[in-house]
């Protein structure tokens, strides 16, 4: 049904889409900014169109130029990847109005999930547990205080339009709430042009667990076993694994079942991810849903033996689709996000990769658009490679990942590989004892150690 996909993205996910499309016999068009002229997805796509200068707002977010590129290349579908326009409901609508297949959920679903508070309320009605909190967005401190008093401190304030930790504040008392509320409002306004906030109960020591789903066009939704994404720094995921060392089979089944039911109720189609906070008693609370493919989708692919991007394209093209193997989790997969950044200070380290040896061999998968000689541009996020280790169990997967990272050689830019190796040797991490506070504690412990 689809004969040519224009990929409105860059980096590893753009290359990932080129590869999957090629396997399906579908042509690809890369659009790129002037900073990405030598990018691998540009060189390896079937066609390529420059759509603007380095600045994302004038290229990868430039809807007019992207649609003009569709016109001149006669692409019949758009894959938005993640980030950029992936969760822009208006863009999805314009694509549809333009007669294009948008490879993602319907605009209504994107819009719903984009409004974090509305999504929470809708999912609550659809049967998912959520944390006690405000049912509507709050614009007024007095109301915020009343609600906080009702649900009890600590509470967390979040931007309704939010993501990435922007406008997020933990308040442990009424006076903290008074201080933080206007700051969060300001941040939310600055980041999302929308100062709306909502409040919910803050759970300390919680884990970030997410459930991948695939919905077809007939209303059938399949949920996959969880991904554990608690190793985060400032809400940026660093290491993801599946299965979670914390979730038991009963909780897994329950989460999968409830997500499947709730997602079909709202008519979910295409790929999506439902994010949960899971407390120490394995009680889980829906946080938000991401209406797109997730960076960490490969670990789910590894344990199930599937290809989610191919599934996503086939669903979008209206094809009947199915998964060839029985959908059973087998083995353990870990992903490390290799960023071009200083491992200690987290300062981005763009520049030329003079020399590159990526890992390989049994159980190692690399999703990367990097190559020796490539200049990592300073204009975009710093992800240069996703390294995925797959093994029969968690211990073997961690050993495999460590061996792979130790043998990865990247010269010319700094990367966070030393940080990953550090985490992969941490006693708590090895024991599976970690939550979203892990990185704070880990960094603090390391700092203390170095002071000794």
């Amino acid at each position: 049904m689809i004969s040519k996909i224009l990929i409105a993205n860059r980096g590893e996910i753009a290359l990932r889409i080129v590869r999957s499309a090629r396997e399906l016999g579908i042509k690809t068009v890369a659009v790129y900014s002037e900073a990405d002229r030598q990018a691998l997805h540009v060189l390896l796509a079937d066609e390529r169109v420059c759509i603007g200068p380095a600045k994302a707002s004038e290229s990868y977010l430039n809807i007019a130029n992207i649609l003009s590129a569709v016109d001149i290349t006669r692409a019949d579908a758009i894959h938005p990847g993640y980030g950029f326009l992936a969760e822009n409901a208006k863009f999805a609508e314009i694509c549809q109005a333009h007669g294009l297949i948008f490879i993602g959920p319907p605009p209504s679903i994107i819009r719903l999930m984009g409004d974090k508070n509305k999504a929470r309320q809708t999912m609550k009605k659809a049967g998912l547990p959520i944390l006690p909190g405000s049912d509507t967005v709050i614009e007024d401190l007095a109301i915020a205080k009343k609600i906080a008093a009702k649900i009890g401190f600590p509470v967390i304030i979040k931007a309704a339009a939010g993501g990435g930790g922007k406008g997020m504040r933990i308040c442990r008392s009424s006076s903290q709430l008074e201080d933080q509320f206007p700051i969060a409002q300001g941040e939310a306004k600055a980041a999302f042009n929308d100062p709306s906030l909502y409040i919910e109960k803050y759970v300390s020591g919680a884990r970030h667990i997410e459930i991948q789903i695939v919905g077809d066009r007939k209303g059938k939704v399949i949920a996959f076993g969880e991904r554990e994404c608690s190793v985060q720094r400032k809400y940026q995921k660093l290491i993801e694994e599946t299965p979670s060392p914390f979730i038991d089979e009963k909780t897994r089944r329950k989460m999968m079942k409830e997500v499947e039911d709730a997602a079909s109720k709202v008519g979910y189609q295409s790929l999506g991810t439902f994010e949960f906070l899971v407390d120490e008693n394995r009680k889980f609370y829906f946080m938000e849903a991401n209406a797109r493919v997730q960076v960490e989708h490969p670990i789910t692919e590894m344990v199930y033996g599937i290809n989610l991007i191919k599934a996503q394209i086939r669903i979008a093209s209206g094809e009947k689709f199915g998964f060839p193997f029985e959908l059973v989790m087998r083995g353990h997969a870990i992903e490390c996000r290799i960023n071009a950044e200083d491992p200690a200070t987290f300062v981005p380290s763009p520049g030329k990769i003079d020399f590159l040896v990526l890992p390989g061999g049994e159980g190692i998968r690399v999703d990367s658009a990097a190559y020796g000689g490539w200049v990592v541009p300073p204009d975009y996020d710093s992800l240069v490679a996703k390294i995925i280790a797959y093994a029969p169990n968690r211990d073997l997967a961690i050993r495999k990942m460590r061996a792979a990272l130790e043998m990865t050689t990247i010269v010319g830019i700094k990367t966070n590989i030393p940080l990953h190796l550090d985490i992969l040797s941490n006693t708590d991490f090895l024991a599976g004892r970690y939550n979203t506070q892990f990185m704070d504690g880990h960094m603090a412990a390391k700092a203390a150690e170095e002071t000794l």
């Binding site: 540009v42 390896l44 169109v49 007019a64 130029n65 590129a69 016109d71």
Partner: protein
């Protein structure tokens, strides 16, 4: 170089005779660098200068079509891009002013198929004068000259797609 010998130094020439001092050489080398030359040799009245630079261009531009010459997708763009950049540099070196496409779309030299082109090579144009139309999103965008001058080259082909930053016209500004 003596004062009496002072001559304008053009892009690829350097008239000189007799002695040469450090300052002159420095200028020469800068010129070499600026123009991206890899080698320069000069011999005049007993003076002989030869300057070479390492050829730049490392691996990336050496990307070959994957899968060998016959099979696989072509990856021609980057070499095209490199060639384009080189051509652009030469044009700019000639003192030409470039009009590039500010958007992605379809290039039209005339307002409609029945009309003559907006401009042709050799035409004198004024700043603000329409040079072509780029159709994007069903909208006709007029692209105007941003300098006074003479059209010396037209790169776009009528009714063909153009991408962002693609060269459309070279104009020799009237000075």
């Amino acid at each position: 170089m003596n004062d009496k010998n002072k001559q304008p130094i053009g892009p690829e020439e350097c008239a000189m005779s007799g002695k040469i001092d450090y300052e002159e050489l420095r200028k020469l080398i800068s010129l070499l660098e600026e123009k991206g030359l890899s080698i320069f040799e000069l011999e005049v009245e007993g003076l002989k200068v030869k300057i070479g630079r390492n050829a730049p261009q490392p691996a990336p531009s050496a990307i070959a079509p994957p899968g060998g010459p016959a099979a696989g997708p072509a990856a021609p763009h980057e070499s095209a891009a490199a060639a384009e950049a080189r051509a652009l540099a030469i044009e700019v070196a000639k003192g030409h002013h470039m009009i590039t496409s500010p958007m992605v779309g379809t290039f039209y030299r005339a307002p409609d198929p029945a009309s003559p082109p907006f401009v042709d090579i050799g035409d004198v144009v004024k700043k603000g004068q329409t040079l072509c139309i780029i159709e994007a999103m069903k909208l006709m965008n007029e692209i105007e000259a941003d300098v006074d001058g003479t059209v010396v080259e037209i790169y776009g082909e009528n009714a063909k797609p153009v991408e962002y930053g693609q060269k459309l016209f070279a104009i020799l500004p009237s000075s």
